[in-house]
Symmetry: C2
Subunit: 174 residues, 2 copies
């Protein structure tokens, strides 16, 4: 059966939205996702601030209550009828995150389960036919076919097949 | 570079010893590892009891203070000079275990790091040349060369290259 590996942050989960909210709280700013998408200069300023102020990623609770991306649940449930689905998240950098990510998956995607969940650092040792991910570092070293899921930080990337939404994923695979 | 995937429980860590201790505490028994190794009937009784009384695996703290197997640290450190080493542990079944396993690795094997640590369910999607593991379910579905690390529960297995100690691993790979 064709195997699809699916990343969590900014693919299944709207992690960028949570990051924007946390950074706004921390710096008393008012960044908004649509503005970041439309304004390259603002986006560069945002990511410069973020790289200096991202300790909340290591704090308890960050990964527990992130919003699910629109239609992710329904499309992944349907994909599971035709493909072997594994969730592959680069989570070992964040020791507190893994239990929270399991809880999150159990809450929103109870049909996946721990047997098909992988938390790792490097993803290049994952054997799958497709990897749907938002980070070039994961896609460019992947041995199967990489699929880039659009996120504010990867809009400049070219050279990858790109999907913008879970409807795009459904159109490609279903 | 040749890649070796190494399991944690009963390969790097003496998990069977901890299990025996926890079960003795729970059932007020006095099982000892050498007796279990020598006596098949006792071993069967032990594993029957264990399968009914293993809730401690899901409790906080179980995986934090397990003893390191003799020479594991020194041999893995040397392997790292010649091979790409990944730690691959079937840990997603135990939500509390992953932070504890990261702490344990950081304490005893600080030269590995989160980038080369994988927590998963099924291991058959791991791409490596060798897998050193104590469980047949992981070895028989592995796409590279499986190496069976002896543990009380796998003494009956045949058909795999077997190592009994980390000195055996060193003799094979170094």
């Amino acid at each position: 059966m064709t195997r699809i590996a699916i990343d969590m942050d900014d693919v299944m989960a709207d992690t960028s939205l949570k990051i924007v909210q946390e950074l706004n709280k921390k710096l008393n700013t008012n960044y908004q996702i649509p503005d970041l998408l439309n304004d390259i200069k603002l986006r560069e300023e945002f990511y410069a601030n973020y790289s200096q102020n991202n300790s909340f990623l290591w704090e308890k609770g960050f990964f527990e209550d992130i919003e699910v991306k629109p239609n992710a649940v329904e499309v992944i449930r349907q994909l599971q009828n035709h493909y072997e689905i594994f969730i592959v998240s680069a989570a070992t950098e964040f020791p507190e995150s893994m239990k929270e990510k399991l809880n999150w998956l159990e809450k929103h995607f109870p049909f996946i389960g721990w047997t098909h969940t992988v938390f790792c650092g490097h993803k290049y040792l994952i054997q799958a036919d497709f990897l749907i991910d938002d980070h070039e570092k994961n896609l460019k070293t992947f041995s199967g076919t990489p699929i880039l899921f659009s996120a504010p930080h990867n809009l400049h990337l070219t050279g990858y097949e790109r999907v913008n939404t879970w409807d795009d994923v459904a159109a490609k695979f279903l």
